[in-house]
Symmetry: C2
Subunit: 469 residues, 2 copies
C-alpha cells in the first residue's frame, strides 16, 4: 500500500473515532509532515485522496476540514435506480415556488442565482455604455444567429485555454443557458422520445421535458460521485433513448463534479448508444480549486456533446446571454432559434464582447470564487450549528448550493411552506425530481453573505425543522 | 343612390375606360368639387369609398392615385378555400432563403425589417447609455416575467390612447413579437391540434406550427379584404380548431387591414366556437392615414384574443423586445417563458422604458410613417415601370410590403434563385403558404430608399422576369 493511502486510512479511522470531528480542521500539510515524518507530497496526496472520497473538504483559508459523513447522505437516498415518467408535470409547482420567493423581503435561500452583490455591475455597466455609444443599425443583422462574432471568438478562446478545441462557428449565442439547453434538446428529439435525466436534477431539465412533451427516464445520481454509469447503461439498453441531460460540474442541486475519467467513460458510453449529451455546465467557472474543471465535451471526438453554458451565474444575471457549443447540431439549433426567439439582443451581446475583451473578467472571477467559497463554508457551518444533528448537510468544493437532507419522514415542502410564511425561501427537493424520493431534502443557496438576518433565518429554519421532527 | 356613391361609380367607370390610368393622380378633392359641383364632404366620401374598394390608394403627398386592378390580383389566386396540412415542413426552406440574403452586398427586397436607416439609432443609444448608468443588480429580478413594470404601464397607456382597455398585468414582455406569438400559441394548444392560418400568411406562423407539431388549416385570404369569414366558419365547423393566427393590420405579405366591422365579426365568430385568436399586429404603428388601426383585441370582451406586437418594426430591430396582451393566458404564458428563455434582457427593457418616456417616439413614428409611405409609393412606381405589364403589383396603405404576382405559370422561387445570384433578394411566395398556390408570387420590401442601386436592382428583376416569361 502506498504511504499516502496508509496515511489516508489512518486519518479516516481517526475521523470515524471522532478524533477529528466534523467541521474541524485537519492539521495543516506542514504540520502533518512534522507529525507523521512523511514528505509534503505524501501528505498532500493523502489529503487529496480523502477529499476525493468525501471525508474532508478543502477550503483555501482553513485548509482541509472534516466533512459530514457523506456515506450517510447517500444512504438516505432510496435506491430507485431507474424511474419512468411518461408525462412530466412539474412546471406549475416550480413556478409557484419561484414566484413566492420574489418578494424583496424574503431571505432567498431558494434562489438559483448568486447573491446580487457578487456581480460586478459597475464594470459591466461601463461596457454597456461603451457598447451603446458605438451601436449602429447594422449590428442588428450582425448579431443574428449564430450571434456576435467577437463574442463567439472570445468563448472559443476560453475553451482553448482549457485545451478544448471548439470552432467559433459551432457556438450559437442564446438567451441564457436555458434557451441553449432547450434548443439543444429540441434539436435532437421529437415529442414522445425518452430523455435521461439525473435524479435529483436541475428542475429546468424537467420543465424542458414537460414543455417538449418528452418522456423522462430518471437515473439515480450519487451526492458525491454523480450518475452511476451501470444504471445509465441499463437505461440505454432498455429504452430507446435520444438524449441525456446532465450537469457535469457542481451539479445542481447536489454540488458534485464528475471526475475526468468518469466524463470520458460517460461520453464513450453515450457514443456507443448513439445518444446525444446535453451538457449543462453553467457553474463551471465557480470552482474553488486551482483549475477549471473540464467539460465532458473535452472528451467528445464525435460531436454528440452539446455543451451549454452562460454568463448568468458568473458575471451578470439579467443580460440573458448564454451559448451552446453544438458541434454538428449548430446549424439545426440556429434554425430553431430563428423560429422561436429569432435572436439574442444585440446591445447585450456587444456589451459582453466589450467586457470580456478587458482583463476585468478574470480578476472578477478570482474574487467571486474566493467569496463564494468563504460564504458557502460559512453557511455550511451555520447550518451545521443551527439545524438538528440528524439533518445531513452536504458540502461540495464549487458552486454555491448546499443540499440538505432531513430525516426521511420529514417533508421539506411542508418546511418550505412554513418558512415562506416567515419570509424565508428554500428550494424543496420535490422541485428536482419526477419522483417523491427527495421530499425530505431541500437546496440552500449558500452565496448569501452571513448577515445577522441571514443567521437569524437559519436559526429560524432550525426551529421550524424541530417543529416538524 | 347617395351622391358620393354616384360620383364613385362615375370615377370607377372612367378608370375602367382608361380615362384615369393606373398610377396617375385623381383630381384633388378641391379640384373635384369644382369639376362636379359637389361638396367637399361628398367628394371625400367618394374617394374613400373608392379606396376601400381598392380602386385608388391614398398618398399624403400625391393625393389619391389610381391603383392597379386588385380584382385581377384576387382572380389570380386559386380559390382553394381550405387546405389541411398534417405536418408543416417549411423551416429549412425559409432558413436557406434568409441566410442567403444576409450578405452585405445583397439588395435585400426579401428582408422582413424596415431598412436600417429608418431607425432612430442615436436616440435609442442615448437611452441605452442612460439606462446603463442606473442599472443595479436588483433590476435583474425586477425585469423577470412579466417584465419591466414601467414598460408594461407605457404599453398599457398606448392601448388606452386608442380606447383599448388593457391592464398592465395582462401584458408579458417577450423576446420580440416572435416569442410572444410562439408562447401564445403554445399556451393554448398541444401537439396535433388544428390551428387556422391565412393563406398566404407570415412564414413565422408556419414555422411556429412546425416547431410545435401543430396541424395547419389554411384559409384563403383576399388581397384587400382579408380572410373570408364564411370560409373561416366552415373551417371552424368542420375541424376541432384550437387557435387562429391572423394578422389584422397591414398583413404580411399582402398588406391589407381588416375593417373594424370585420374585426368585430371575426372575434364574435371565434368566441362562438371557443377558439383563441393569436393576433399578430407588429405593423400597427405603420399606418399612413390619420389614425392607428384598432386591433381585433379591441372588440374582445371575453379574453380570447392574445394581442402580440413589438418595437422591432417601428423603433429598433436588434433589441428583441415585444409583448403579448394575453388576457386570461398571461400567467400561463409567463410560466412557459420561465422555462424556455426565462426572461427578456434587463438592460434593453430599461432602455425602452426610458426611450418611451421621452417624446421622441411619437415624433419618430410620424417621420417613419411619412418616409415609409413615400418609399413604398416610389418602389411601387418603379416596379410598375420596370416589370412586364402582365405582372400584378399590389399596393396597400400601410406597412412596407408589396406583393407581386407573376403570370400563373412563372415560378417565383426560380426568380429568387436567379436574382440571388445577382445579389438581389426577394421573398418568394412559397415561403408564405403550406400549398403551392403562391409559387408565382413574391414579396418585396418597399422600405428601401430608391437609390441608384435599388433602381438598377428593380430593372434587373424586370429583365429576369422577362427571361422567365
Amino acid at each position: 500500500m502506498a504511504k499516502y493511502v496508509e496515511l489516508a486510512n489512518q486519518i479516516k479511522e481517526q475521523i470515524q473515532n471522532n478524533v477529528w470531528q466534523v467541521g474541524t480542521k485537519l492539521p495543516s500539510l506542514r504540520k502533518q509532515t512534522e507529525l507523521s515524518g512523511l514528505s509534503l507530497m505524501t501528505a498532500m496526496n493523502a489529503y487529496q485522496l480523502l477529499e476525493s472520497q468525501g471525508w474532508v473538504v478543502s477550503h483555501s483559508r482553513s485548509g482541509y476540514v472534516v466533512a459530514p459523513p457523506v456515506q450517510d447522505v447517500a444512504a438516505l437516498f432510496p435506491k430507485q435506480h431507474l424511474h419512468e415518467t411518461e408525462s412530466v408535470d412539474i412546471n406549475d409547482f416550480v413556478f409557484d415556488i419561484l414566484q413566492a420567493s420574489r418578494k424583496n423581503t424574503v431571505t432567498n435561500f431558494g434562489f438559483a442565482y448568486p447573491e446580487a452583490n457578487l456581480y460586478p455591475q459597475n464594470q459591466v455597466n461601463k461596457s454597456l455604455v461603451r457598447a451603446a455609444r458605438k451601436i449602429t443599425t447594422s449590428h442588428d443583422l450582425d448579431n443574428f444567429p449564430p450571434g456576435n462574432e467577437t463574442l463567439r471568438h472570445i468563448i472559443a478562446k476560453r475553451y482553448a485555454a482549457q485545451g478544448v478545441n471548439i470552432h467559433p462557428d459551432e457556438i450559437v449565442i442564446t438567451a441564457g443557458a436555458l434557451e441553449a439547453l432547450n434548443l439543444s434538446l429540441q434539436s435532437v428529439t421529437k415529442a414522445g422520445d425518452w430523455v435521461i435525466v439525473e435524479s435529483p436534477c436541475f428542475y429546468g431539465a424537467l420543465q424542458s421535458l414537460e414543455r417538449l412533451n418528452l418522456r423522462a427516464l430518471s437515473v439515480n445520481t450519487h451526492p458525491t460521485e454523480g450518475i452511476d454509469l451501470k444504471d445509465l447503461e441499463t437505461a440505454l439498453q432498455t429504452h430507446q433513448v435520444k438524449a441525456c441531460w446532465l450537469m457535469t460540474n457542481f451539479q445542481n442541486p447536489l454540488g458534485f463534479s464528475l471526475s475526468d475519467d468518469k466524463k470520458r467513460r460517460l461520453v464513450k458510453l453515450l457514443q456507443q448508444y448513439n445518444v446525444y449529451l446535453i451538457e449543462d455546465d453553467v457553474y463551471n467557472e465557480l470552482y474553488y480549486g486551482a483549475t477549471k474543471p473540464l467539460p465532458a465535451k473535452a472528451f467528445d471526438d464525435s460531436g454528440i456533446v452539446l455543451h451549454c453554458a452562460s454568463f448568468s451565474k458568473s458575471l451578470v444575471a439579467g443580460f440573458r446571454i448564454g451559448w451552446v457549443a453544438a458541434g454538428s447540431r449548430a446549424l439545426q439549433i440556429q434554425k430553431i432559434q430563428l423560429m422561436s426567439t429569432l435572436s439574442t439582443s444585440a446591445p447585450v451581446q456587444l456589451t459582453l464582447a466589450d467586457y470580456l475583451s478587458t482583463r476585468h473578467y478574470e480578476r472578477h472571477l478570482r474574487l467571486l470564487r474566493r467569496k463564494l467559497e468563504q460564504r458557502k463554508f460559512q453557511i455550511w457551518q451555520l447550518l451545521r450549528s443551527h439545524l438538528p444533528k440528524d439533518v445531513q448537510v452536504n458540502y461540495s468544493s464549487g458552486g454555491y448550493f448546499i443540499w440538505v437532507a432531513l430525516p426521511a419522514h420529514v417533508n421539506a415542502t411542508e418546511l418550505y411552506k412554513m418558512a415562506i410564511s416567515d419570509d424565508i425561501s428554500i428550494a424543496p427537493g420535490e422541485m428536482f425530481a419526477t419522483t417523491q424520493q427527495f421530499q425530505h431534502c431541500f437546496r440552500m443557496n449558500a452565496s448569501l453573505q452571513a448577515t445577522d438576518s441571514v443567521v437569524r433565518a437559519i436559526e429560524r429554519l432550525g426551529m421550524l425543522i424541530r417543529q416538524l421532527l
